[in-house]
Amino acid sequence: MDQHSPYDLVRKRETEDLTAVEAAVLEDALTKDADLAAFARAFPSVRRITGVVDADAEIGGLHDLDLEALALEPMRSVPHAARRWWIAAAALLAGVLVARGLLGADAPVAVFTPRYIDMAAEAAPAASAVDVFADAVPAVLIPYRPIGEGGITWLRDESQARALARVSGRPILRFGSMATCPLCVQMERGPLRAADVLAQAGDVIALNQRYTHVTMQEMTELFREGWPRLQLETADGKVLRTFHGARGAAPLARELALATASSTARPMAWDELETQLTRHTLGNAAGRADELGRAWSALASVEAPSQLAQHAATARRWIAAQAAQALRAARDTRDAGAARDVLTRAVGRFADSPFADDFADLLARLDAEGRLPPIQERSE
């Protein structure tokens, strides 16, 4: 039993008789403690005034909340003496029902089970939207074709060429030259524009690497095997074939044919690649804008090539985890208004994805019932 504070005794003196010992203890404390004495002088008045909020009829009880509408209307014809039994029975019934609901058995309030959201889904710990929705290639390269109206469409940025080679599954045709090298300029203007050469260059990523600011020693090393440098290499930099040095159109076409034949890649058609890249880029853009439903739908249609498809699948898992996080946030928000805000935002954020249906369903339940129903994970 807790030992009474003299403050407790002050209250007890107002509500019931103190024992002789308690009275003596209190009197002694009052003489020694001025703060206690001040409290003892004020408390009776304050207690009396605050009695206005002390009545049970005013504060109400749980049975009033739960059973008022249910119990009172049918009881208008019930004799007054019987009402207590009616209320007690109804309270007991409600208590058992609520308790069983809390324990998960025959819940009186229908639980909400999301149809699409896996509440256990977790995002990779360090994954941010910027990382998840990074484009495979810059959007400007989506319509890339190696052969254009003016001949070969040379890329100048090696990292872009590598990214496009990686995602398209095509090798890189590297043309290394110097602006001050007459053999290089002649080859670029002549043989590299010839029809039979262009016919062999339709399935490469063309990279024109213009060497500038190199020392004489570096230049000697670079062009030791001939001017200009020409080689076919994989996206990872593995050299498939070299054919350095100036040559005419026909020998160049033959070399190019041999080089591309050495590549084992079986790339998808350019038009199809463009379609897939477009979907992927649109999905990423939506993701970065936090329009995760639109991102989900766009990325769902990315089927190939494997690198894009894998990236899209990773991003979709991240989106699913965000949906789960949003649902958990709604569940953990006990205030109905805050829950409504979370759900409303989620409906917009995940619009165009099935997750939005779950959020909309839950929001409808919240609006209809005035509170969130218990949420349980879908079983699979």
Binding site: A42, V46, R48, V53, I59
Partner: protein, 173 residues
Amino acid sequence: MTRRAFEQLFLIHREPVFRFLLRLCHARADAEDLLQETWLTLWRKRHQFEGRGHPLGYLRQIAYRLFLNHMRRTTRRRALAHHIPVRQEATMDLGSDDADEQAVLLTRVRAALEGLPAANRDAFVMFRFEGMTCAEIAGVVGAPVKTVESRLRRATLALMDLLASERTPGGTR
């Protein structure tokens, strides 16, 4: 804790815990939400409870923490306190109708309570309306008994000052 034991606890203590929460937050919807959360928390932490202290004290402790979290999320209590001009109301003519007087007094007392610092108010509410001892309050709020006594005294003296007009001749009581 078995399910049966939990059910027994629920049946016995749900009403006092609800009243406790309602005293603290006034809004029934909030009290109901917090009540539900209290029981869910007890169920989740049932293994921590085994044989420790009085169940009602433990439940009040859970409920009070949930209440504090709830209040941190919302600023309604402070906003309400700032918007009700307590002293101005305290000097207005109450009229002659008893019911009206009672309603005005109720509003005034509530506003005065809301105007107290949160910790002082909570201690007073538990002491005055819940009949909790200073030691019980200390257990719930996680403060020394002396601190609770101090909060209680400050709340009482502040209320007496705020409600001074109620005690003067011609007041409602």
